[in-house]
Structures are given as structure tokens and as C-alpha cells.
Amino acid sequence: MAYTEEELKKELEQQEYQYGFTTEIESETFPVGLNENIVRAISKKKNEPEWMTKWRLESYAAWKNMEEPDWANVNYKKPDFQAISYFSAPKTNNKYKSLDEVDPELIKTFNKLGISIEEQKKLSGVAVDIVMDSVSVATTFRDTLAKDGIIFCSISDAIQDYPDLVKKYIGKVIPKTDNYYAALNSAVFSDGSFCYIPKGVRCPMELSTYFRINQAGTGQFERTLVIADEGSYVSYLEGCTAPSRDENQLHAAVVELIALDNAEIKYSTVQNWYPGNKQGKGGVYNFVTKRGICHTNSKISWTQVETGSAVTWKYPSCILKGDNSIGEFYSIAVTNNYQQADTGTKMIHLGKNTKSTIISKGISAGKSQNSYRGLVHIGKKAENSRNFSQCDSLLMGNNCGAHTFPYIEAKNKTAQIEHEATTSKIGEDQIFYCNQRGIDVEKAIALIVNGFSKEVLNKLPMEFAVEAQKLLEISLEGSVG
């Protein structure tokens, strides 16, 4: 398979065509900076109805008066929001003008993971909706899904084709004024995915999106909305990789999940944005707001494997509004070198007999800082609610940090809340034991880390679990010298 550069370029061009890269979108990037006119221009460019434009403008107005939060246990240089370009579409013709554009480290990682974008698409039973630089460029399996009445498309398309659904649900779980980054996203979101599962339908395949940040200097603001109507089920996978870039890139996504009565949503994420180099230069700022609402007897399960980004600020949460509803959060967060992660969840128990489970596994190496931050709130009317939380930290070396910030608010005396936490270090005796059996240090660490993370890895869909396991190994490569 000795490709010449020319052949590869040709193939990639054909690939673009095959997967319907739209040509109607102009290739230029908007001027940098943010003001009302830019918000209007984004909306206009996407040919949005007036209510959407208005919604964006209201979000922008709110954002203007908000302050960037600084309570998280992370330190970074705040992005200059006026130095970012808020819209960029793929340049269809010269996306891969030169192979130099694709970072060799990224290619290496792809190879180590054993995946290519092409392979991802072909993974049997996985429908892929690729977001490349803010514009959803490809949607596969759409027809198959349509037979069951399932809608799976870009949020831009949904605004055009299913305005009633979007209007009814967007911003209902995460209000546009919820927080600084959510408000920003609401004003300028470029694209993202939309999914609707009709009543009583069990989605026959894992739905998957594949995000990439590809153009230097463009922030990415995805917006995802998943609605599971009464009695339906859907499993949604979200995987991310980003090429190396020297300057920090901002990523402020919003994901809203709605599980109506008796519905179930399983949302899995593997996040592998560029973490910066070994000296802590560059890397993605990942400021994400994810929240779901559970109606009666419904269930939302968040599973995340967070290995990338220079700074992560992310708390996928559940509002357990309906009686007997269930919220789950399973997380593995790996930080190495100078990465910083402040991640966790909020479980808001409002209905009776609501249950939540939190399993958080933090792995810190190098000079990184890894924090779990979680809130368990039991409302006044939440009779017989239960929560179980387990936060485990694994440390590698002496220069990293693991922190746990659990908050518990119980306003109902019948609630049962359990919290367990452990901190451990990879022992030299464990490494020597593995070495003595012929297992080298890297592999020994991978084994120990996989064992530590097993409870969460097991929650991932099969094809994701394998990828995630490899990702853990790659993320920790060279962390013990």
C-alpha cells in the first residue's frame, strides 16, 4: 500500500464527494470577533427562521453581561473571545491540499487506534454523522433510520425540517443563560447533531457522531439535542479527535438530552482532543455543558472516557424530574503532562423513588491535575431517593494531583446517599511483578490502568470499549520513565 501523495489526495477528494461534502457553503471564515452582527450573520448564513435568530440574539445579550466562571480547579489563560472566528465551513476543494496539514502525530494515533475515519463509517451498525469544522458534512444510514421514524441529522437541518421539535425542546434542559459557555454556544453554535426517537421505538443501531476540529483559530460550538419519546431507547456515541495545533482552541459544546416517560438514553463519549505537548503548550480548551432530563420511569446514562484536551470543564448531569427515574454517570478521566481536568456530574433528584449512580475514575500522571466535582441534590419531594457515588483516583509519579469535591444537599429525610472514595498509586512492586512475568513497563501500566477503569469501560458499547482501552494506553505512554 505505497500511496503517493498525489494518489492519496485524489482518494480523499473522491471520499469527500462520496460522503456528500456540500459545495454550496462558501469556504471563507468569518472575520474574527463577536458582536450582534456576527450572530445575525451566522443565523442568516444558515438560513434560519426568525425565532432562531431571535433566540441567538437573546443568548448573545445574556452572554455579554456574564463573567467567565473561575471556580473550577484549573488554571489557564482566558481565551480572547474577540480573537476567535465564529464560523468556518470546510473548504471542499483544498481540504487536503497537502499532507502537511494532517499532523503526523494524529496519523500515528489513528494507526495505533487501528481506526481511520473511513473505517469508523464502515463499522457495522454504526451510523456516522461527521462534523468537520462546524458544518455537518455527512450523514449516513439516514434512510435506514427513517424507516422506523427515527430522525438523525444535523441540528441545522433539523431547524429547517423539524422546526416544531427543535423549538419545543432546545434550551429547555440547559437554558440559554445557564452559564457563560452555554450562553456563548446558544448565540453562535455552528452545527451539531439532532436525534429524535419516536414513541415505543428501540433504535436498531448505535448512533455515532465523529467530531474534528480542523482549522486553526476557529472555535467549535456544537449543539446536540437528543429526544427519546415515550417508551423509546437510543444509544448514542460521540467520539472526538483533533489534530495538533499550537495555539489553544476553544471548544464549548452543549448537549441536551430529553428522556420522556419510560424512555432510555445511553450517551457515551470518548474525548481525545489535542491535549497540548509535553511542555503544556497548546491543546484544546474543552468547556462543555451536558445535561439530561428524565421524565417518569425513564433513564439517562452518561459514560465518558476523557483523555484529551489541555483544560476540561465538564459535568454531564441528570435532572431526575419524573418519579422512579434513574440517572447514571460513569467516567474515566486521564490527565498526563500539564493537562487539567475538572469534571464530574450533578444528579438532581426531584421525583419520588429516583435513583442515581456515580462511578468516577481519575487517573493522573506527569504534572497534571485531575479533579472530580459532583453534586447530589435531593429535593424536598424526592421521597425514597437513593444515590451511590464512588470516586477513585490513581496516581502515577509524584508530581501530579488528584482532587475530589463532592457536594451533597439533602432536603428529604428518606433519602439514602452513599459516597466512597479511594486514592491509590501504581506500586513499584506491581510493576516488578509484571516485569518478572515478561510484561514490560508500558504494558504493565496499561494493565493496571485498565483494571482500575474496568467498571466504566464495561459500560461502553463493544466497539468503543476496545478503542477506549487503546486510548488509555496511548494517553499514558511515557508517563513512567
Binding site: E428, Q430, G438, I439, L447
Partner: protein, 244 residues
């Protein structure tokens, strides 16, 4: 197979082994006995390549190769196995997964391909039955919550799977009741052949009722003070180490 010449070993500046010489040929079983603190475990750790210990003088040859500069895993790849006195726990990794990783790591080091899953499974079953190991045991996390007997049986199971040329059993009898001792010893005996060798390190004679050594060495204060045949072990049992 194993040749140790005038070995001096220190840990944190303190000399533990003060000139040990020992030669083990293929097909032989050697027992190293001695009181607590005599340096028995240090000797096994140093042969296995534990870098906490510093060799200040002397040489270790394995199949005529000086192994001083080899890492622990490289020594393992060459066929040196040590059964640990205190096997470590690795939570979340099953016995099966661990041994599979170990076997494939060794194959890879020799430039061979991974063992096919069906072959691996067959071998695991065969060796497990040899050591009277329940299949449920194989799906448990490595050494986590294992009894003393289970840990040692698991060590010998790994030895059976890896088929080393030199096996060092460090205090394998400690923490074993008489039934477990019998099973472990019979496993070791069944694995014995004319091409491999075993070094049994023990404080007590009782293991040597089951694993009959060709040679017995007494280690005291970092030196081998007496060598003999299996009768030496019996004499020690009767008269204690002070007799020497």
C-alpha cells in the same frame, strides 16, 4: 544453567549477600535454606532482576550469558521465573487476562505471534486441572482477596503456563495448609523435566518432603555456609540452624 560467582549485594548501602557462589545444572532441584534475614529472598530477587538491589561484586550467568545488564522482563523472556513470597494484587485484571498478556509478551519478545485464543484456552484448562484450580478462580481479579493458598497456587499456575527453564520458588510453602502444600508440590513435580531446573527457597524442611531436592544449601548471614544432599535438610530440622 545458572552460575553465580562471588555475589555481593547491597540494598540502601547495607550489604545483604556477602559472596554467594552457586551452580545449578539442568534437570536439578536445589533447595536454599536458612534462618530469617539470611538473604534468601534477596538472592531470588537479584536473580529475577529487581533493581532495588545493587550488585556490588560478582556475576550471575544464565546459560553462559552474563545477565547483569538485563532488565527483569528480559530475564523472564529468557526463561527465568520467580514465584513470589508475597504476590501482588492487580484489581480489575483477571487471572486469565494476566497470564494471556504475560504469554503473549514473552512470545512477542521472541519474535513470535500471539497465541491463538483457542490454544490459550486449551492450555489454561489443562494447567488449571493439573493444579486443581476451579475455572471460576480464573475469572477473579489477580490475587485480590485470594487466600494465602490461592495466591501460591496461582503462582505455580503461572509457572505452568509460562514453562520457564529456571523456576525460583521463594517461600512458596509459607501460608499454605497441608492440602494446599501437597497440591502445589505435586504441581511443581509434574512440571519438572530433564531440561529445566528449580531452586526452592524455604525456611522449613516440610516442603522438601514433597519436592525432593538434589542439593541443599544453607545460607547464613549472606553466605552459603554448608551444602549437601537432602539429608542436610533433615539434620537442620532436627538440630536447628544454630547447630552449624
Amino acid at each position: 544453567m545458572l552460575k553465580i560467582e562471588n555475589l555481593h549485594v547491597s540494598i540502601e548501602g547495607k550489604e545483604i549477600l556477602k559472596g554467594v557462589s552457586l551452580e545449578v545444572k539442568k534437570g536439578e532441584i536445589h533447595a536454599i535454606m536458612g534462618p530469617n534475614g539470611s538473604g534468601k529472598s534477596t538472592l531470588s530477587s537479584v536473580i529475577a532482576g529487581n533493581e532495588d538491589y545493587e550488585v556490588t561484586k560478582g556475576n550471575i550467568f544464565f546459560n553462559d550469558e552474563n545477565i547483569e545488564d538485563l532488565s527483569a522482563e528480559e530475564r523472564a523472556h529468557k526463561g527465568i521465573f520467580m514465584s513470589f513470597q508475597y504476590p501482588v494484587e492487580i484489581p480489575g485484571i483477571t487471572v486469565t487476562n494476566f497470564i494471556k498478556t504475560a504469554i503473549n509478551s514473552n512470545l512477542k519478545a521472541r519474535g513470535e505471534k500471539d497465541m491463538p485464543a483457542n490454544e490459550m484456552l486449551k492450555k489454561i484448562r489443562e494447567k488449571a486441572s493439573l493444579l486443581e484450580i476451579d475455572s471460576r478462580f480464573l475469572s477473579r481479579s489477580l490475587n485480590e482477596g485470594f487466600s494465602g493458598g490461592e495466591k501460591k497456587r496461582n503462582e505455580i499456575f503461572q509457572m505452568a503456563m509460562l514453562e520457564p527453564t529456571l523456576a525460583i520458588l521463594d517461600e512458596t510453602d509459607s501460608g499454605l495448609d497441608i492440602d494446599a502444600l501437597r497440591i502445589v508440590a505435586s504441581g511443581v513435580n509434574k512440571l519438572k523435566n530433564k531440561d529445566n531446573a528449580t531452586v526452592v527457597i524455604t525456611h522449613y524442611q516440610r516442603l522438601l518432603d514433597h519436592i525432593i531436592p538434589d542439593y541443599v544449601h544453607v545460607l547464613q548471614d549472606g553466605k552459603i555456609v554448608k551444602s549437601g544432599d537432602k539429608n542436610l535438610a533433615l539434620q537442620l530440622e532436627e538440630r536447628g540452624y544454630d547447630w552449624l
